[in-house]
């Protein structure tokens, strides 16, 4: 188990390195130079050259890469080409916004999805079919369109929730929650549908297993069979998909943050992409990769805790 963990950790570090390398090479494949971007449209050749040498752009590639790695280890992401702000500090402020959206949406998706999926599998009949087919539709809807619909109904027509904007938790916890409600709900529509399908299929498969019949043969109460044994069996795929969901929601936050004007990582990456702010782009990629890698590691630990077959091998 220990050797296994060590191997996973090594792979995680390797993954982050790969992400850094890819984005670094990507930046260097660009036809322009950071100096040109910083200098703006009216920059002279001399200005551009000065900026470039300030940024170390004139150094050999490997040297720049090692320098950048050295910076990263010190959690220094460099400064923005556009407004010269410290990228690390900026992203540090944005990370909690995106993380809370993704986390809340994942949790809510899990809750609603498991509830719906298990009900569909256990109740069956017309109701079960309805849940299965409507979740099939829900997971196909584009999130940005669902978001607009929700704004129209919940915010414009009913006036229950603010349409856009973000309130910090430290400023006003209730305001924080209501400002996140619409984005989280939007992401939950598709997320819960995916989980409902996984949980439903998992439960159905679990209830078909031979060991369920063994339990019935010794007169085990039905609730125990369903909600202890079958649910436990179905929990492994559900947890895996929840992990994938979190990663997907984290990466997919760009659109939601754009739609609801939330100051998160996604918004930063969109802005950096539009303005060719290369160091900021690399920073976002690195942080997102770290989130993915850490989530995957946690996921493996949870699955190992759930599944004795994984745990004991």
């Amino acid at each position: 188990m220990f050797a296994y963990l060590a191997r996973r950790l090594a792979l995680a570090v390797l993954t982050v390195l790969a992400a850094v390398l890819i984005s670094f090479l990507l930046v260097h494949a660009t036809p322009g130079s950071p100096g040109a971007i910083r200098a703006g449209a009216g920059g002279t050749a001399a200005e551009i050259a000065r900026y470039n040498s300030e940024l170390g752009w004139d150094q050999p590639l490997w040297r720049q890469f090692l320098d950048y790695l050295g910076q990263l280890v010190r959690l220094d992401f460099g400064t923005s080409l556009i407004d010269s702000k410290d990228i690390g500090a900026d992203l540090g402020q944005r990370l909690p916004v995106t993380a809370s959206i993704a986390l809340l949406a994942t949790l809510l998706s899990g809750l609603v999805g498991v509830l719906l999926g298990v009900t569909a599998a256990v109740r069956g009949g017309r109701f079960g079919r309805f849940i299965t087919s409507s979740s099939g539709v829900a997971l196909s809807l584009p999130a940005f369109w669902v978001g607009i619909l929700l704004v129209f109904v919940l915010s414009l027509q009913l006036g229950w929730l603010p349409a856009t904007g973000y309130t910090r938790f430290t400023d006003d916890p209730v305001g924080w929650l209501t400002s996140l409600a619409l984005p989280v709900l939007t992401l939950t529509v598709g997320g819960a549908a995916v989980i409902a399908r996984t949980a439903g299929a998992g439960m159905r498969e679990a209830l078909r297993q031979e060991h369920i019949r063994t339990l019935r043969a010794v007169g085990t109460p039905e609730w125990r069979i369903r909600y202890l044994h079958a649910l436990r069996y179905a929990s492994v795929p559900v947890v895996s998909v929840l992990g994938i969901q979190f990663i997907a929601l984290f990466g997919g936050s760009v659109i939601i943050e754009n739609l609801f004007a939330l100051p998160g990582l996604g918004q930063a990456s969109q802005a950096a992409s539009s303005s060719h702010d290369l160091p900021a782009l690399v920073g976002v990629v690195v942080i997102a990769t770290i989130v993915v890698v850490v989530t995957n590691l946690l996921l493996e630990l949870v699955v190992a805790a759930l599944d004795p077959k994984v745990r004991t091998s």
Binding site: T15, A19, V137, F144, I148, G219, V241
Partner: protein
């Protein structure tokens, strides 16, 4: 765009599809798909969309940049069927003009992802562990890259070159494709026809193209459809963010972005484009579901039993019998009968064998005794009297009082009969506490004792293990211990040794025999092996095509069989006692067991019987036979006396190498019962 790394929601289903040989119905392709209303509509919409999008320049009522400033932000009208946008441009024309690019670009993404993922998976599956580990680690790294954000970074560097960007997305997704396809390819490669082709000397490329790839076709189609939907969402999501085609070229994402800005003054604007995009993705996913054969009307788990009223409440014919089954019939709900008119009685401390080939209904009969029939199968008539109490028609809640406490069951596959998620200790202690009303510590003590009593030496260690850590024989012992937790009086054993090695089988049979001797347990054992029946049973009922054809004491039936089917089964058994010569040829029976629903009237064995005559096709009742004063039996053969007088034996030489098998050998012969997963 909520789902970037392919949600592996179909992982389980995909695997199922991969490991099961494709049933013939799935090979009929499109018409089969169209039979589902959802997928029929889906395919119709996709066809319409493709045609409408690519021909849009030919029929669109307005040019895409044709502004009608007098009619801005209008709803549907005769002039503009789907209304107009903030610049007064016709939405209908713009939606369908915009369709071509996402369709092409998403196809490109799918092609790139599969073009890389599938060859890689095929190679890794073929080359074995070392190659597989290298490629798998590499793809794990790619999969961990945040694709959406990386795409934005790519756009930030190279600009909005949508074909290139979506191609790069395809490269990123190819890692996911590889992961899914590797599992499928490995499972297809385990199929024996691949080995057979390799033994024939077929080159590896040909093996992959001819044998492995076709086996993966279903999964590939499903994944391709899903991936197409995801690519579509990502492409329009990028356009929504402003990384789409430049104005005035229309795109769905930009149109929805525009709608979001006019949600206050023109909410209609969000309807047409959103609906077209949503419909398209829904249609694609519906198509994927249909290909996967996922019927939305999935079988459910209603534990409702049919409300059959016991057909007889007369006093038991055998006053000593603890269990009496009379005229029991089992049928698929709204379908054919699986078991008809089965009767037998069991006295305390006796062992009854139900014996026959696959599809004879012996397992269904055994499971009916505990009300544990598969979903969609139920008792359709007759009576099961357990200690004078009628079990047929009892609701599950009442049956639960009998299950475990009075009647228990062990099954064919001990390795899957225990819950893989819980330790042996938990699985024993929980029913012990419930059935014996003791505390946890006491229950644990009893659990250890039970394990010792079924011949497990190191009970304490076994208690701590999980099912996957047990060998087959050990698992079956644990299953027997589990069945004994409620001190039952009757044990139903469904092929308890079929999955075990022959020396382990002998040990388990000895254990069962000792239990019968020491505790007075009665046993109903289902087996296809007459040797097992001879070893452990006192009485036997031979089943064929859903009915008992011969019954009686084991010695009477096996030493002096009266029914031709029993004779044939004995003649087909290659196990001869020591000292006797092995027969030069074995007796065999032409053809196969007729499947439920196509049983003839009269004798169901007549079509395969060497002694069948005209009279065998008329219905008749079984004759009493094998009477020895203590036990009685019956024979369901109208010529039984005639045959007995003639001292006939089943002739071994009737089926040779060049004789056609059966009267109609190419009848699609499915030897299993029609209910999926039900084996008898």
């Amino acid at each position: 765009m909520s789902v970037l790394p392919l949600p592996d929601m179909d992982g389980a289903a995909a695997d199922e599809v991969a490991t099961e040989p494709v049933p013939p119905s799935r090979r009929r392709g499109l018409p089969q798909l169209l039979r589902r209303p959802g997928s029929g509509l889906g395919v119709a919409w996709l066809v319409f969309l493709v045609i409408a999008s690519f021909t849009a320049p030919l029929w669109r009522p307005y040019e895409v940049d044709e502004q009608d400033l007098a009619h801005r932000l209008e709803g549907p009208s005769g002039a503009h069927w789907l209304g107009t946008d903030p610049n007064g441009r016709d939405i209908l024309s713009r939606i369908f003009t915009a369709g071509a690019e996402p369709l092409l670009v998403s196809t490109l993404t799918v092609l790139v992802a599969f073009g890389i993922g599938i060859p890689l998976a095929l190679m890794a599956a073929q080359r074995g562990r070392r190659t597989e580990q290298v490629t798998s680690r590499l793809t794990e790294i790619v999969m961990a890259l945040p694709s959406t954000i990386l795409l934005l970074a790519v756009i930030g560097v190279i600009g909005i070159k949508i074909y290139l960007v979506m191609g790069i997305l395809g490269v990123l997704i190819s890692a996911v494709v590889y992961r899914i396809m590797l599992g499928v390819a490995q499972s297809v490669r385990q199929r024996l026809y691949v080995d057979a082709a390799r033994v024939n000397g077929l080159g590896s490329l040909a093996v992959n193209l001819r044998h492995v790839l076709p086996g993966m076709a279903t999964v590939i189609a499903v994944q391709a459809a899903q991936l197409f939907g995801i690519a579509l969402l990502i492409q329009s999501g990028l356009a929504f963010l402003g990384f789409g085609p430049a104005e005035p070229q229309p795109s769905w994402g930009v149109m929805i972005q525009t709608a979001s800005q006019h949600i206050y003054d023109a909410p209609w604007l969000m309807v047409p484009t959103g609906l077209v995009l949503a419909l398209t993705v829904v249609a694609v996913n519906e198509l994927a579901d249909a290909i996967a054969g996922k019927v939305t009307a999935e079988r459910v788990v209603p534990r409702r039993r049919s409300r059959v009223v016991a057909s007889s409440t007369a006093a038991p014919a055998d006053p000593d019998a603890v269990l009496e089954v009379r005229d029991l019939s089992v049928a698929v709900d709204g379908g054919p009968q699986l078991v008809t008119g089965v009767s037998f009685a069991l006295r305390p401390g006796r062992v009854l064998g139900l014996v026959g080939e696959s599809g004879c209904g012996k397992t269904m009969t055994a499971r009916a005794l505990l009300g544990l029939l598969p979903d969609g199968v139920s008792v359709s008539g007759g009576s099961i009297l357990w200690q004078g109490r009628e079990l047929v028609g009892l609701p599950d809640s009442r049956l639960n009082d009998v299950r475990g406490r009075e009647i228990a069951m062990i099954s064919q596959e001990p390795m899957v009969a225990l819950d893989p998620m819980f330790s042996v200790a938990y699985q024993l202690i929980q029913p012990i506490r419930r059935l014996r009303g003791v505390g946890r510590a006491e229950a644990r003590k009893i659990a250890a004792e039970l394990l010792t009593s079924v011949g497990i030496v190191d009970a304490e260690r076994v208690l701590k293990t999980y099912p996957h850590q047990l060998s087959g024989g050990m698992a079956q012992r644990v299953c027997i211990a589990l069945a004994l937790t409620g001190k039952p009086k009757l044990l139903i054993a469904d092929e308890p040794t079929t999955a075990l090695d022959v020396t382990v089988q002998a040990e388990i049979l000895s254990l069962l025999r000792a239990l019968v001797r020491d505790t007075g347990l009665s046993v109903v054992i289902v087996s296809h092996d007459l040797g097992v029946v001879a070893d452990i049973c006192d009485d036997v009922a031979v089943m064929y095509a859903g009915e008992v054809v011969e019954s009686g004491s084991v010695a009477a039936v096996l030493d002096d069989p009266a029914h031709p089917y029993t004779m044939a089964l004995l003649g087909a058994n290659p196990h001869v006692p020591d000292g006797e010569p092995v027969p030069r040829r074995l007796a065999s029976i032409a053809g196969t067991v007729p499947p439920p629903g196509s049983w003839p009237t009269g004798c169901r064995f007549a079509a395969r019987c060497q002694f069948a005559q005209e009279q065998c096709t008329v219905p008749f009742v079984p004759f009493p036979a094998h009477g020895d004063g203590r036990a009685t039996g019956s024979v369901r053969c109208i010529r039984v006396e005639e045959l007995a007088r003639a001292h006939v034996t089943w002739d071994a030489d009737d089926v040779g190498a060049v004789v056609l098998v059966g009267a109609d050998p190419l009848e699609p012969a499915d030897e299993t019962a029609p209910t999926a997963g039900v084996r008898s």
